[in-house]
């Protein structure tokens, strides 16, 4: 898995969120795909060069839960150097809704990791 498609991102995020069993999922696919969309909006602000093809005359890609279905192969246009940052953002954003202190800290850690990976070397 090289984090090419929407499905890849959702699967990788569920691993970190410990939400891999659909009985049902704690975080719905729609929630995680929305977080992926929000990640792209943040990237557009922090590192517009990553979305170079979407700077003129095109909006930032917007995905739906259907794009994450197995076998859809809908590509997320992010350079491989920054794909893990997107996963961290999805996880952090998903955990924002939780209210206990442990989850808050974890959410902040993910979101900070997202930002630092975009703007810094480490």
């Amino acid at each position: 898995m090289a984090l090419d498609t929407v499905e890849d991102y959702i699967t990788a995020s569920r691993d970190l969120l410990q939400d891999t069993v659909d009985s049902p999922y704690r975080y719905t696919t729609t929630t995680l795909v929305n977080a992926l969309n929000f990640a792209l909006l943040e990237i557009r602000k922090l590192r517009p060069d990553i979305l170079l093809d979407y700077l003129t005359g095109a909006t930032v890609p917007d995905f739906t839960a259907a794009n994450a279905a197995p076998g859809q192969d809908v590509t997320v246009p992010v350079d491989y150097q920054y794909r893990m940052a997107v996963v961290y953002y999805i996880c952090g954003h998903a955990q924002l809704r939780d209210e206990d202190n442990t989850q808050d800290a974890r959410s902040a850690a993910f979101l900070n990791k997202f930002t630092s990976q975009l703007l810094q070397l480490v």
Binding site: L46, R47, L52, D53, L119, L121
Partner: protein, 463 residues
């Protein structure tokens, strides 16, 4: 080409962790544009057929987009080719100042830059010759971006400075058509700037003190001529006496290492020459004529007009203190012999100006090109300025009469000496736009200093 292109991209990737290929390639395109613009290193020749009587021609380059028109010649054989007076109003449209009278093939040389093709395309040799230069340009631009993992303002400055320095070197190399000794060394730019402040026949003294005195050795003009022949005058002229009018000889006792021979030592060290080379320079200089060449004018030459050249020199006198008097009345129909290359041998007027000003070939070329844009007509007299506080027509005429040149100039200044209006003059003849001063100076062949003296003397006279 592809391997060199990719090699540069690979090196950039190595030094720019986190950078995206698309962005590197975008900056690479801009670097190549900048490089071509600064150096004129990429030239494309386009042949076209003229039509008798037609001034304007639409010409397209194939390999890239035109930056500027270098020249237009009427033959590929340099022995017979003549440069034509042509300019480019906007890219791809060139215009003859005087339309060709017959249909013939012309060759236009354009300085070009890469077009919008992706990936960017330049001649193969670009990648190898300017490898480091291009890399510095990319790194400088990339590292100057804000809020990126590879952002580094300090390193951006270093790489940008290296790029600019390399581009300057490449520009000079191109000017010298990559000849040996074209760019083994460049004098620090702080010294080069002194070329623009020559004036009044002052002797420029380099650290340590270059000296001149009247001995039995070579003259200043001989040395300048010799350096000019070698294309080295521009590198050294700030160190040697500015005015070749000087009758003084240069101290030289046959040994350039002589402890009193500071000038020779400066030349030797500045050019990184051996003692033998410097002795050869002096020896061959001694064989050259010691007097300035007579300036010649040619009414059949197709190039710049004497009026245009004089006006440009006047303009330079105003802004840079350039002091040169060229002989000959400013007849609007007289043209200056100029082969399109300022250093063309046989062009004694060019050599005269170049020797006097210590100009490089590039500066001479710029002088002539700038002169083309000057009006051929004599400048019009500006309206009298009632607010000008000092000089009046009558005073100026009186002074001109004292100087014995009233007859020469009378026709171009207001005839009525009783006219109480002041002459448009703000107290300094360097005021730009003072058409009457310009006219007086042009007509009389006065230097800026002479004109200033004239005005100040006139102010002392009664009205």
């Amino acid at each position: 080409m592809a391997s060199d292109y990719n090699a540069i991209l690979d090196l950039a990737r190595l030094r720019l962790p986190g950078a995206l290929d698309g962005v590197i390639q975008l900056e690479l395109s801009r670097v190549l544009d900048d490089l071509c613009d600064k150096t004129n290193a990429w030239v494309e020749q386009v042949a076209f057929q003229s039509v008798a009587g037609q001034y304007s021609y639409e010409i397209y380059t194939v390999q890239g987009d035109p930056i500027r028109l270098m020249n237009v010649v009427d033959d590929l054989d340099p022995a017979v080719a003549r440069p034509w007076d042509v300019f480019m109003n906007y890219p791809n449209v060139i215009q003859f100042r005087t339309a060709p009278s017959v249909a013939k093939t012309f060759y236009a040389n354009f300085s070009i830059m890469p077009d919008d093709d992706f990936p960017v395309t330049v001649p193969t040799w670009f990648w190898s010759k300017y490898h480091s230069l291009i890399l510095d340009g990319i790194l400088g631009r990339m590292m100057s971006q804000i809020a990126k993992p590879y952002s580094s303002p300090a390193n951006a400055r270093i790489h940008t400075a290296a790029f600019n320095s390399g581009a300057n070197q490449a520009r000079v190399e191109m000017l010298r058509r990559y000849r040996f000794r074209g760019q083994g060394w460049m004098f620090p730019q702080g010294w080069a700037a002194r070329k623009f402040s020559l004036g009044g026949g002052a002797v420029n003294v380099a650290p340590g003190g270059s000296t001149v005195a009247d001995t039995s050795e070579i003259t200043v003009i001989q040395l300048k001529r010799r350096l000019n022949e070698s294309g080295l005058l521009w590198t050294i002229d700030a160190l040697i006496p500015a005015s070749p009018y000087a009758e003084t000889n240069i101290i030289w006792n046959g040994q350039v290492t002589h402890k009193q021979d500071n000038l020779a030592r400066f030349i030797q060290s500045s050019l990184s020459w051996s003692t033998a080379q410097t002795i050869a320079l002096y020896t061959s200089a001694a064989a050259l004529p010691g007097a300035l060449p007579p300036a010649t004018l040619d009414t059949a030459a197709p190039e710049v007009y004497i009026v245009q050249l004089k006006q440009q020199l006047n303009f330079l006198a105003q802004i840079e203190g350039v002091q040169v008097v060229i002989p000959g009345a400013p007849d609007p129909d007289v043209r200056v012999v100029w082969g399109g290359v300022a250093s063309a041998y046989g062009d004694s007027l060019s050599l005269f100006i170049q020797s006097t000003l210590g100009y490089s070939n590039a500066q001479m070329l710029a002088l002539y090109i700038d002169a083309f844009s000057q009006e051929r007509a004599m400048p019009a007299i500006s309206a009298n300025d009632p607010d000008a506080p000092t000089l009046f027509t009558e005073q100026l005429k009186r002074q001109l009469n004292v100087d014995g040149v009233l007859a020469t100039i009378a026709a171009v200044i207001p005839a009525d000496v009783t006219d109480p209006a002041n002459i448009a003059w703000t107290g300094g003849i360097t005021y730009y736009g003072d058409a009457l001063s310009n006219l007086v100076q042009t007509t009389l062949d006065y230097t800026a200093a002479q004109t200033q003296t004239l005005y100040y003397s006139a102010m002392q006279l009664t009205r």
